[in-house]
Symmetry: D2
Subunit: 336 residues, 4 copies
């Protein structure tokens, strides 16, 4: 059994890792940290886990220097980069924050408002969008796990960029559930405010944008990226609008995505209209599209805490540890 | 007191009319119909109105032939056109359905899948987007009240089209609450399904699109229009994405909208990000925008049953009857 | 026009007062305070009010010493009692907090965990449950406005206590919306947590209980009072369970409530099952009941920010100022 | 692998069975029926299952006469009793409807408004509340799976009835999510109506009451049972109010439940306040309580489609088939 550590285990990303890894047949959670809840049992903080795990939060300072095979870092932006330099080169590290996702230091600073990690440390991380980087991940020791918005948009746009289908800009209208804001209460996640509400935030400035343009870059195809807060808890629904250089049929669109993702278990082509609730509590990404007269709308949906965070992190761990990619991620989306 | 009739008073548009007109100081609801609930008191169907109105639903066949000053038609698409030909030419008619909104018969058939009204009857109606057609409405006897999606998008795009700001297509991503589907239960408004859900519908084919393109038409600026069902009850949140021919500042955008709508009580410019909950249960339309490097995002939000239906219908009635435009529409949005 | 001051105007109770008083034809909001937002315009804090009011929050220290006719205190528990001693005896004061509701100092301390106000100040306040204390309120200068839970339960139980219908304890299961927790974000109003959630809190210890037992006290009829947090924003739904000394008919129950509240505009008898959404955004209290074999269930529902706070406060102001009781409170509940 | 049939597989109970059994290591879904969707693939009806199961709905008439080891009946009330008489005596049958739960024919008719099954067929079924009937279920061939409300209340009250703690009536205030109404849209599950709503229904008359009183019957302790519709999708939150003959401590209450359920994996004692969201999408029942001065409130919460329907059905199948009781039911509740 691989021994797992989770730094930052009391955030939503951390507890989702716990929920997944608890049932993973080839791993054991050996250590978990939380600054705010150090000393408490996990079920004191998350009563839904009562009786299911005998874990107690340690302070981050007690990170074991040996005995762990895999360390997940699920810390606020800026924290992982403080810890990583002191870690063993052989330890498998999967960082769920944005610290090591961005190669360009200046871009990192612009979007994260933080000093960047050292270029050397940054380069030691592979960008962990599994379906697009599978072989690199398999042989990596360190993975920068992608952002939830970036995962949705990159998977939607990648085939179109590769095949040069797009003419002109792509406009992305991406709606997130409230769990994307993490488990600290705030003004825009206050229930009386968020309930029955929908509003944009961070125009042109969301920190997941540079992840997207780093991987998808064409001079004539800027990505205009706008995020929205929607009144559900789980999920990202990303809409991508663009003009093509020519008219295509629905079947040609379906074929394109089939040719790229047909063998990827976690990516599903949806013939009609996807729904953010069709992937809830699962690691699936559903992609669908509509086209008319040379215009194309592509939709991608995922669960922000699964494929958008902890699920993809486990998918990456499976690759890095040589486990079958779907291990521990076999639950269906839940409905209703 | 003007005597008011409401045909189709048990739908959400109808009951919203009742809620507004009940407090309107210059009118009296004299007659209200419902096929499904004929014979019942309104409070039997809508218990929240218990004790507040002494109204009983009539069948449509009992529409009085005299004594009414204003008749609101809040019937399913296709029904108003059956009734209008028999109505007095002097009666003020405000039709909340799509029957008389579209001048082109072929377009009507394509989007409504219904035989069109006679061109003569259609021409007797003025398109009732108040702020853009105020003078025509003031002197009209018959108004085709706009669709909720169309109202949001037309008000957002009108100044940009008028001033030729846009280069290339406009992509519209418009999210509606569940009350937009009316009060008949259906699969996509079933609570276990709709709750926590978000999904597109009618790609390229929503019946409000021809209202938009009829009023805003430029050969090089097609409007790509996509509607979404969101998990709130009230409201339309419309996002408009486009490229401009040049870079503009935030202030220039604000000035543009100020110059068009600065004297319109019900249109508010929002400097930051609008929110669908900031206009709830009111007749306001909030407009905001963000711009960068020659790209522009314009947001418009309204309450689909107020400015998107009954509120605008009363606003139009006020103009047609010579009442101050805000009469009966003075309630603030409600929060929380 | 009566000149109104609102101390604590940025909380949900305060902003609800603003929304109501803005349309009240006989008053003018002359002054409003907020410690957190002193110096800001109200629309900066509550953008849904944009363009509707030209009010700026003052610090509480700038409370005018003259010129106000009515002062609403909408401050956290413990704050009103610091201010009241310095206020003019002739000023009409309506306190929305719990500070002056409880006559017994020891009980106050037990439930509020605060030092009590001086007995003399406390006695200068009349308990403002309008329908039960109308004449006292009319001639009072100071009113302690009741708690939301207390209003619902007192109105439901009062006729039963008066007529000695109940044998044994009354069990109260009262469910509140999230706005009852105020506008400061917290763990149990965090959207990802509160959404889809329902849970009890403060077993046997809610601070509204002593308001209830102070007014309704019978040795053999203890009131067992349990509050719940429900996943809606607005409203209280209170269920009252009890055994009667004898069997009664549905009609006898209806007649009882009719005899007590038949002439009260804001109390409505609902023949079937009430719904918390039937009173939303209104000052109504809906009461309904079911009975069988000598057992009785009574339901009372109200909007916690209207009849449960600001609405009732304005209703009391109307009485104290000699205005018609319904002035400014004429909006119907909103649906959907 | 045990071969499983599911009659009525397109309802919420049926699809929940599918979601659970899909991951059950010792069974295979061999046949599934739906009248409404006969001929369709399950993923056409439930797109969240796309790519996960290759099942097609048959009409009920094509129920295989051999080859099945277990048949789940998840049909509307009244349908199972038509099918059961023709079924093989050796087939393991688990009926999720109410058809065979009630021993007394007259009571069945009164609450179900249907002709009862033959007494002989009824007697061939064991009442399947697992923790209270484990040994009978283990040796049974046919199980009448309990109702969701009944499961919650029976587990909460059983120890109290057994130990004669209660003096006088028990009042039950039980709140259900919208999925309890099934997957057919209706007036009270219409999103604009149900959202932000809470209301009682079927006073004194819910069909789960006779299941409760059949198992728990004491002349001096009537169960007064009231159901509510709450605005969440999943779960039952049941509150039980009663007077005891004596005062007890919190610890004595905890000890009582520990002594009854301490070894039951799926029943968890919650020291503070339970929450309906702590058991979501799991087979757990959380029980908690508060007591003061001889009054006791007991709370029990469960997921209506899991422990309240399909989860318990699988738990019973495991017993009847000799599998470990938790097999296939090992997922933790999900949060957020």
């Amino acid at each position: 059994m691989a021994q797992i550590g989770i730094a930052g285990g009391s955030g939503y990303g951390g507890v989702e890792l716990v929920q997944i890894l608890r049932r993973h047949p080839q791993v054991e959670i050996a250590w978990i940290s939380s600054q705010q809840h150090a000393g408490k049992k996990i079920e004191e903080v998350y009563p839904h886990l009562r009786g299911l795990l005998d874990l107690r939060f340690s302070p981050i300072e007690e990170l074991p220097t040996s005995g762990l095979d895999v360390l997940f870092l699920s810390l606020p932006h800026g924290e992982a980069m403080k810890i990583v330099p002191g870690l063993d080169q052989d330890l498998i590290i999967i960082d769920l924050s944005g610290d090591f996702r961005i190669a360009d230091s200046k871009t990192f600073e612009e979007f994260y408002h933080l000093p960047p990690p050292s270029p050397q440390e940054q380069k030691s991380f592979v960008y962990g969008l599994t379906e697009l980087k599978r072989e690199e991940i398999r042989s990596a020791r360190r993975v920068a796990n992608p952002g939830c918005f970036a995962s949705a948009t990159l998977l939607a746009l990648y085939p179109l960029f590769q095949e040069n289908w797009i003419k002109g800009p792509v406009f992305v209208d991406s709606k997130t559930g409230s769990s994307g804001a993490g488990n600290s209460p705030g003004a825009t996640t206050h229930h009386p405010w968020r309930s029955n509400s929908l509003f944009p935030y961070k125009p042109f400035a969301h920190q997941h944008l540079p992840e997207i343009t780093q991987l998808l870059s064409k001079p004539d195809t800027p990505v205009i990226f706008q995020t929205y807060s929607a009144p559900f808890v789980r999920g990202i629904f990303a809409s991508h609008y663009m003009e093509l250089g020519k008219s295509v049929t629905d079947q040609e669109v379906a074929d394109l995505y089939e040719s790229y993702y047909g063998s990827d278990f976690f990516i599903r082509w949806i013939p009609g209209c996807p729904n953010v609730s069709f992937v809830r509590h699962s690691n699936f990404v559903d992609i669908g599209a509509a086209t008319q007269k040379g215009y194309l709308i592509v939709w991608s949906v995922l669960d922000n805490l699964q494929k958008g965070a902890a699920g993809q992190a486990v998918q990456n761990m499976n690759l890095m540890c040589g486990f079958p990619e779907e291990t521990g991620l076999d639950t269906a989306p839940v409905h209703p």
